[in-house]
Symmetry: D3
């Protein structure tokens, strides 16, 4: 249970306010599995009456290998600024190395200019994290893999699909399974799922007719099949509901849903509740915390804590991270 | 009324969502006084269901001299991130030069490490503005003048005390006037007020005994005097209320209050309402918008629009800004 | 025909060695359509006996608005280093503003780490261009739109699909047309094509069984349809040949091929020649020069010169570029 | 007495030419108290006939944790450039980490633009130190705490007031003591002194009437009190002399003077000598060396060597520095 | 005589304290030859009692094209820091473009590590100039041409040899002339002189036997020749004296000396005075001011003012500088 | 044979494709002499059909002290881009420290602007290496020592003259030896050779009459002497051939040639072959690989592997490198 010396001083875990349970699980993993006893560091985070975020570390991080765990969820700008301010505090306390652990990355859907005169906020986010003091980052299932290239600092862009979610789905041993993506934006993600599970693939295609209406069509054939409907995240669940209705009409036998990030913007939970009859399971991770009371009976949450804990451990001691994933 | 050619393309004003009225007043000043017809640029700013801020410019800023007007008020982190994202959009649209006009600067009270392991958020803010694309900044009455040095980009750090507020107070021609500062943090600001008005000076001193209680004492003598109680901003108004009570006990004849930034965090307005009997006037600027319905009868709001408009005009055409202030 | 004054000095065009004809066409466009007489600047580019690239400008670019036109094609590293060295020469001659015009961007397929321990060369390329002196870039049809975010300098990432190629295809007025993408990587590009032409969509799916073999399947139905097979570029044409064969087997009536970048790595031309009977037209642009003698009878080359010329003109005089495309 | 392994290689102390005695004292502290035998590194510093400063390290610093000790005193620009050049030499010899130990920071009175068109030299100094190679800095009693924010590198901005000088003054157990600041610029510093000693506070106020004359007035009451007159530094001692005279007239019983930095620009020593009768003690530190022969009988010098030595030790081994100060 | 509009606002000349006469000559050149009336800007430069350099601009440089003229001579570090501080003041006043005009560059003899653990101060100087705010530089006869590469900002590294000094020497029409360099460090400079004048070349070789003694030998034959002894600068004149003695012994008929920078560190003037009999002319420029009273009868000073003035003019209006030199 | 712990994780050697044999020799040196068993890391480097270079590391470098060995030889741009791409891959895999070991630096002859409007490619190269991820560099015999100053990262610029080549030549004990440089560009290098061997010195001077013809003359006297003709590299060997012919005519008894870098651009080998009768030995290093079959009978190759291996070892464990060279 003694501290394992790393190359960058001792390890230190700091939890932001956005995912305290996940942070505690990571701490537990390091203690129990890696045998490094690392309780979450003591820190104060609060808002002053003037709505200014304030952060104070109550223990020194001088010369240490610091991991700040903060997933980006609502209130998004508050949570993100809190992370930047924490980075500044850690940097100014002369930390040895600083890694921002961001299970759900900020603004990763704003990853390109698809209209003139728009920002690329995901690149801005990468720059802000660096200027605030991050030396490295760890994240899970970016909306586009290219976002890795927005960072000039090194990082570990992990995936929950093939390492965590796929294992669970494969374990269900569903006959006549087929993968369908909610839209074409996840076409390559769907192909990866289909390849891993060795099953066929189809797509729901969303055609916007004009600014207000759209029609859906299915590319491929799902008749008589159990369908695994996949995406990287569920936001308001509007597309998901439409896709389920379409699959229903097209003769799908059974429907499961799998994705990484439960963003669940209103009225996502209401919409998903209405799908209870048609969807046998909704599987996702805890990159974003969902209150226990909000979980529906057909929901299954799979924790990313051991994955993140193992990557933090390997990053700290200098062992290959790639070895536990893609190879 | 034709556009005046500047060195950096034509002028363009973009208003964020935090102070639309002030932005419109600045536009009016430029049109009416400087004879440059510059309506506020058409832009869309909204929040997606997932709480992500989105900005789109609806007219091109290519090669132009852009001024983004956004004061920092609550919700602070939303307003500040909106500014950063707007900067990114403007920068990526190949603007000629970008000036962030921030009447009330973000986080300017977090300007030093007064305890170990805290951030210097005001410096972080300066860095974030630069990395997001600001080439220059314009602001009013920073909490500490040193914050100018947090920026490596040039800027115009203006003051409302001696240019706007002082003129108003001097115009009242109050006999036996005296300046008192709310605490020692504003001692030098108080001295500047006293020098400009050529009246004596005293201080309220706040002594924190322990974490929860404090006592106030007055350094100087106010008996029989009309007192101008000054500070840079009023936040919750707690110190202000205590200072008024102390001045009352110490025999002040009449009390006026003057400051630049009406932060007015709850319960500031309730507290100030209770001072109605004792305070003849509360004078401040519109660097932060206060809803018309919240204004008390003894409040006087003086607009900074003409000051900002004039500085923007001079910055655009390359005329001295210093000449209108300190010289 | 007099020079039009821009905000950044006079305009100057410098052609690298990779696409002299296209550069000349752009110069002609500016002269004839925009009425700015801008011959290509006189410069010397050569290789020393020791294989070192050497660049010398034979006319001054001091204070001017310089556009360096260099598409990236084979020999890729020579062409790219030549561009970087030209940027350095232009920068050190005190140019006013420098835009790298790169019709086909370098290394844009290396845009993410899809395996551990690989580079993200497209981001590296963006950084190298900036450090060498580029203030802006102009490019066409990036492999992934996210690559825009690899640049922190502003740029114009244009598209030939909807502005040039689509107009041509639409003009053919082909009945019962359908869009098919060569693989799922271009699924969203295919959707854009289908939306613009208002026709149905299908996909060829490439499943790699193991390292050496793969099977193709079609998602969607092409029977009795004329098919427009689309992608962003054709490299060795292996996927294209396989897709055509599959479409043939699946009953497509007629096949056209459209893409932006004719990379044409060997044996692309041989393979495309063998498709002569089955493919009625192969339509692409001149972002990469193809020798006149290599063109097949069913090939149609559409020039991007007027598009690039117009964008350069608008960038120079500060007019909206977005207006000619997405709006 | 064996070397203690730190995280950044072995520790190395390099003394500039400005404070060799203090540097030796720090070395002695590390040897005697921390049991790390660290003699000052062998280096050559000289001026060439052409007045160019030259630095050469006579022992390797490769991979080591280097502390360059150089206080900034007259000749200021020579001493500061010597520090920058030493940083460059250390950096280019591949040091592991470089800390600039600057007991009296350069140009820290030029910390804001109080008139138009002036520099903020203290920010420039911070940037120059960073570009020359400093990874961290250690300093004592900055003129304004905000100067910490001029650095983007982390640092330890220490205080001699509450840790060293206060202990000494408190030890004198002077009855009826009161703190008075020399001017309002040190108002908050004075409050900190008063709080620590738990005694009352008053201020000398300097009113400039015009460019050449000024009057002094006292805010507060010192009659019958022993006065501790405080400031951060004494430069020409003009303000100090005037303050003593005023306190005398106002009936102060006894006067002591305490400050951190003995800048002592001429004719400070002459002026202080004339105060011999009225001032019982003048207490300051050795952040700036004062020749033994210049010391007056009522002067007391308290060394900062153990404070700096302890901070260097803790920075080297990664222990909390905050713990020895503010907590 | 009206101001000529440039691309970067109006031109502004600021003289530091090191070469006021040269600065005035440049101003005169611009007024008389280029017909731009540009008096030297009003500025205050002084030293505070604490030896801190202070700079204040007394007129606005907002949006203007500023040239700061400051040669680096003794006291070197004071003069150089004054330049950096002036750059900061100009930058923070929102100048449009800033060029540091440094006729004699700082520390240009420290241009490489010729021993371990030494600085490369000339590179440091380039970095410091950039971080302080210089956008461009202009200088004359760098000790090594490679120092241009120490700057990442563009600049004009001019030469006085072939443009100014050579014309003068050629005008003397000396028969049997020969060029000899003072040491091998100037071998290539000597070759350029010899080529321009189309005369033979020889070298004095300085062999250091040990730390204290050295012997000189001549490579080449000077018997019966008039010798032009050349170098880039004369520092203490020790080498020059030795070279003259050697040439004398070797049978040179007459000796002239030519160089650009009269550094003249003591006892240079005494030594040169002793060469009066043997040296017919000592020709140099005014890149460093030499007091009129120090000039010897055989000295000839050639001004660089018209060269610098012409380059400033061309840089301002965007005309080729190269055209007046090397082509 | 166990791994020696360094300060930056374990050591890792990665060989590019340009000098595999030298890389293996370095690995052998570390294994055999330093007793650190470090085989070359497993990596894949290839070119895709579209001529894009691809690099993949097949083992993790996380937290390790990585040395990438890549000399720059033809095809120069391919080899250099391969190095940059490898740096990016290593950096993104979170290496602890990265050193680029470049025995023959890229573009080091383009080290200054000797004509207007040319690049300084050697500085560009330094910047590109840094932006791609190099923390340090190691190189041998730069064309100009000033190129060290093009890097802001620290590095070890080694010399083969005095450490390797000189020892060999001295061991030959040639009577009446004399050093002659091929041209004046190597004058100071020649002087160093002459000093080390304690023999006289002469120069071949190359006078370009016009663009196509040149004449050679000898400065100094070689009659009856054995001549060591020296330079830093041999490119096309044209100058070398001319120098040998001139020395022959001038009566040199015997001729040896020594240089560091065998660039050997065609027709260097043919030219050198023709000198077989007149030149007794041609001595150079293996900084650039020469195929065994190309070596002439009078050629002697001296390996730099032990020098590089020793420097890598010392850099890794933090021991002085200077001690093995200049002291």
């Amino acid at each position: 249970m003694a501290a394992v010396p790393g190359m960058y001083g001792n390890i230190k875990l700091i939890a932001g306010t956005s995912c305290p349970d996940l942070a505690q699980e990571i701490s537990d993993y390091l203690t129990e599995t890696c045998e490094i006893h690392i309780p979450l560091a003591d820190r104060s985070i609060l808002k002053f009456p003037n709505d200014n975020t304030y952060v104070r570390l109550n223990e020194s991080v001088r010369g240490q290998d610091v991991y700040i765990i903060q997933t980006i969820t609502r209130p998004v700008n508050d949570i993100f600024m809190e992370l930047l301010i924490t980075l500044d505090a850690v940097r100014r306390d002369s930390a040895g190395r600083i890694t921002a652990v961001i299970p759900h990355m900020a603004y990763d859907r704003s990853d390109r200019k698809d209209q003139p005169r728009t920002p690329i906020t995901a690149r801005l986010v990468a720059d802000l994290l660096q200027v605030a003091g991050a030396d490295r980052y760890i994240t899970i299932d970016l909306h586009a893999a290219q976002i890795q290239g927005f960072f000039s600092i090194p990082g570990d862009a992990l995936t929950a699909y093939t390492y965590i979610l796929k294992d669970y789905i494969a374990g269900l041993q569903i006959p006549d399974l087929m993968v369908v993506t909610v839209d074409l934006g996840f076409a390559k993600g769907g192909r990866d799922w289909a390849r891993e599970l060795d099953v066929p693939l189809a797509f729901v295609e969303k055609m916007r007719k004009d600014a207000t209406s759209q029609t859906l069509s299915l590319i491929g054939d799902v008749r008589g099949r159990s369908v695994l409907l996949v995406d990287d995240e569920v936001d308001t669940a509007g597309s998901m509901v439409n896709a389920v209705e379409l699959l229903d009409r097209e003769g799908a036998k059974d429907i499961l849903i799998a994705f990484t990030h439960p963003v669940f913007s209103p009225p996502a939970l209401e919409r998903l509740a209405e799908l209870q009859d048609r969807v046998s399971q909704i599987v996702f991770t805890n990159t974003i915390p969902v209150p226990q009371g909000d979980l529906l009976p057909n929901m299954k949450v799979i924790s990313v804590a051991s994955m993140l804990g193992e990557v933090i451990y390997r990053a700290h001691v200098g062992k290959s991270v790639g070895k536990i994933f893609n190879e």
